[in-house]
Each structure stands twice: as structure tokens, then as C-alpha cells.
Amino acid sequence: EAGVAQSPRYKIIEKRQSVAFWCNPISGHATLYWYQQILGQGPKLLIQFQNNGVVDDSQLPKDRFSAERLKGVDSTLKIQPAKLEDSAVYLCASSLPPPEKLFFGSGTQLSVL
């Protein structure tokens, strides 16, 4: 069974530039999450989708972050414009309708210079 796919694996940008991350969840998983993990901390939830609807985006900095999940499958997370403090690993995860076991992708390591 294929896992959660994410790309790119690494990204380096300058502050005020824009960046986008892509995620393809495990087949059949209706719930998709984007987490931000800052070095030395546990992952923090940014946004949760159920199919193509947003369940929770209370911790998403909406002035610069946006996310969409078209057709209830793939998802993209965008940052525009990026700030230095956005340097982190961005993790995508998926599960069957919660509460269920969560499966993570390998993440995108973002460095903002």
C-alpha cells in the first residue's frame, strides 16, 4: 500500500517569496491534515480537511497561508509571502474519518533566508 506522498522534499527561498507544497494522501483516506513542525518541537496542526471541505483552520495564519483540496484527494499548501519564522518542516498526514490512526508523509523542509 502506497503511503502519503509529499513534494518537494526540500525548498529554499528568500523572505517575501512564495512557495507551494503538494500532498497525495493514502487512497481512501477522506481526512487530510497539514502540520507545521519547528525544529525541536512536536507537529502543530495548521488545517484539517474532510473530503474537500475544511474542518478546522483555526491555527492557519490566513494572511499568508492558504490550502486547498480539490476533488477531495490531493492538496496544496501555499505560503505567500514567506517570513523567516516560516522555516520548518511541513508535514501532510491522512487518516480514515477520525478518530483513526494517522499516517504521515516524509515532509517538506522549508528554509526561508
Binding site: 518541537q41 507537529p43 477520525p98 478518530p99 483513526e100 494517522l102 516524509s106
Partner: protein, 110 residues
């Protein structure tokens, strides 16, 4: 909000030793999951354990929901067990979203 505290923060073991990692949480939870983040950053789900005990090879976990804690046991540790271990709780008031602890960094030396 809910507090999720993991201990110890850091642990160094000799290969073959056993260890116990602890996760305390401050409120009722719907479920609890343990994850291992390997040195390459990949998070692997070890256990989905809202209560009771589960075993998977050299790893086992116990959650006592009424006393608000969970334990992860690693027996006969191997160097491949190195990494960060996170517990994450589904807090009933947060609605089916996981809140992560800060993790326990484990280093297993050969």
C-alpha cells in the same frame, strides 16, 4: 488547552537495554497515538491506543485513561530505535484533532 507532557526529554541507552517513556495529559482524551520520528524526519505511527495495552514486537504501550497517562516500553533496544518519540492525544474538547507532546529524544549506542 490540554497539556501533554513527555518524559524524559532525553534518553541515552546502550544497545540491548530496556526503556520506558511516559506521556501525561491534563484532560480527558478520545484516543492517544504514539509516533517514532526517525533521524530522516519520517513520522511512523507505532500505536493507536485509547486505553489498555498493545504489543508490537519489541514495543508495547499501555494507556490508563482514567489516570491520564500512557507508557511506551522499548525492550532490547537497537540503534534503529534512535529518534524522537511523540505521543499525541485527541482531546475531546478539540474535536478529533491531535495535540502533540514535545517528544522524547532517544539515542541508542552500539
Amino acid at each position: 488547552g490540554i497539556q501533554v507532557e513527555q518524559s524524559p526529554p532525553d534518553l541515552i541507552l546502550q544497545e540491548g537495554a530496556n526503556s520506558t517513556l511516559r506521556c501525561n495529559f491534563s484532560d480527558s482524551v478520545n484516543n492517544l497515538q504514539w509516533f517514532h520520528q526517525n533521524p530522516w524526519g519520517q513520522l511512523i505511527n507505532l500505536f493507536y491506543i485509547p486505553s489498555g495495552t498493545k504489543q508490537n514486537g519489541r514495543l508495547s504501550a499501555t494507556t490508563v485513561a482514567t489516570e491520564r497517562y500512557s507508557l511506551l516500553y522499548i525492550s532490547s533496544s537497537q540503534t534503529t530505535d534512535s529518534g524522537v518519540y511523540f505521543c499525541a492525544v485527541d482531546w475531546w474538547e478539540y474535536g478529533n484533532k491531535l495535540v502533540f507532546g514535545a517528544g522524547t529524544i532517544l539515542r541508542v549506542k552500539s
